[in-house]
Symmetry: C2
């Protein structure tokens, strides 16, 4: 089994456990949205609208609100992250590796999103929180600017 397929299976397991722990129900719609999200949007940052339009083509009976609600469930269960890059639209990305933690560079010209991780920054933030007696729960770090393609033009 490929690592990606393995990962997808792990997320499915996590989600199923979440569903049963919370006494929720598994439905056809949730299955479809899971498959679409973890099948086609690995490493991407999709808006609810985009995912809905995508799914609607093959599953026109699936409603808008259901996609919203399901992505929220994905987030709650810890298999997806919600991101917000200042354009007013929430974006979701599948969590690939629980230990993986990354931030984003967003090109203000073409809108492309790049990812990066940096241990030094992370430890700095922990230190800063500690210094201020602040219990760090999470943090948000984004770089906005021009990507290598766009800065040349």
């Amino acid at each position: 089994m490929t690592p990606v397929a393995q990962m997808k299976m792990d997320r499915r397991k996590t989600f199923n456990e979440f569903i049963s722990r919370k006494r929720l129900k598994s439905t056809k719609q949730r299955d479809v949205i899971f498959e679409e999200f973890f099948g086609n949007y690995m490493g991407r940052h999709v808006t609810v609208e985009e995912l809905y339009e995508d799914i609607k083509r093959r599953y026109p009976y699936i409603g808008f609100a259901t996609v919203y609600r399901t992505l929220k469930l994905f987030r709650e269960s810890g298999i997806a992250s919600e991101r917000n890059f200042g354009d007013g639209k929430a974006r979701y990305e599948p969590i690939r590796d629980e230990r993986e933690h990354h931030h984003h560079m967003i090109c203000t010209e073409c809108g492309k999103i790049y990812e990066f991780a940096n241990n030094q920054v992370e430890s700095c933030l922990n230190q800063i929180a500690k210094l201020n007696e602040f219990k760090l729960e999470n943090h948000k770090l984004e770089i906005y600017g021009l990507c290598s393609s766009c800065r040349g033009s």
Copy 2:
């Protein structure tokens, strides 16, 4: 003259220059909003609604949209920063010192906003951008968690 008063005068000058450079007009409303914003909200992070409610008490003739538009002008002219801390409401803060650059810690319990600055983080971000051939225009860094008062409870 106190440093704060001096700073306020500097911002006023910058704004006036912006107004005349862009061939805009100075109005009674803009004066009132400037006075209120730079008089009572130094070091704070005020929402449009809050500022509007505050101003309305003494200047009921000033409209909602005007406050929105004026804060946007403050931002464009470089005398105010717009911030967004994930509650869906834009916040504005007077820029105290052009060289000053800071980020925020937001308490998820009481909503209090703390400021911090850190040179090491800044140089890390510059390096990261450079490494990815990314032309850094600006960046956003926030720490969410519990402040010292709230973590104790």
